[in-house]
Subunit: 157 residues, 2 copies
Amino acid sequence: MERDEAAVLTFIERFAGVLTDSGFARMPARVFAALLATDSGRLTAAELAGTLRISPAAVSGAVRYLVQLNLVGREREPGSRRDRYRVHDDVWYEAAVRRDQMLLRWEGSLREGVAALGAASPAGVRMAESLAFFEFVRGELPDLLARWHAQRGERRG
Amino acid sequence: MERDEAAVLTFIERFAGVLTDSGFARMPARVFAALLATDSGRLTAAELAGTLRISPAAVSGAVRYLVQLNLVGREREPGSRRDRYRVHDDVWYEAAVRRDQMLLRWEGSLREGVAALGAASPAGVRMAESLAFFEFVRGELPDLLARWHAQRGERRG
DNA sequence: CTCTTGTTTCACATATTCGTGAAGTTACTG
DNA sequence: CAGTAACTTCACGAATATGTGAAACAAGAG
């Protein structure tokens, strides 16, 4: 079966839209979607600019962001001067890690809050409970990912 | 121990900053933080405007957003004409539910992607794997929340 | 029924974000 | 050591978002 490019473009824009609604910046979302929708998972900056109809500058900015977040890798084949961008195989693992770090930050802030309010005050208690919830979730994450890996291995085997 | 109002205000701004960095809009984040830091968990619009030094209009907008997201409830005592806004006790449960709905949306979009790319193509396979991951996480959520409730009950008892 | 108090809506000014074109930089080729 | 292809940086203009004051809008009190 060959690719229906029109349908693929439609998908890219739709999925990018969903990501955007979830808080992603527009261009990074589109670039990420375009990479996901490629068989090789790799595209040059020029290809990205072409399919998304954006300037090289926009590609540059979007890609810098995605690389910083470790969702995308930059590769250059020796003897070539064009970069290739590639979605990491473990994007969702990376995303989970990042969520973990976000949780840590929230926890830190909430701890400050408990201190500022006093652990005995009603507000302090409420905040300590929120803190406990986040600690719990963060503690469960590794286990969750382990179960996923187990299940995936089973499905493959 | 009495509240050190200055420290509390500092905490409110810091925590709101963390939320803002995580994608929250500024004013809703500040209002939410202010409510979290209150012993009663309830404040009037005027009190919010006062402590945060913002206009009633800004309070109105922020609160509408938070109520829509179901993070905050609006209450009015009979015989009064001032609203009281209150953080829901189960804010984090609500947040989890919302994440669930977000996951559903992502899954829908990815399903479209698999269809557009063909389940047999490499890109289609990659997308199907992402889809499976999200389905897995969503499936685990109820269990996770149940474990939290169990642990919390134990801690209380 | 009118007064008063509290909330919401609206138009506007401001601030921020975003994407582009153009110039600048890097690095491979011959 | 040019020459050139590709990427990046920068300054600008456009589009968006944000918060405010003023006016309109409830709704209880007298």
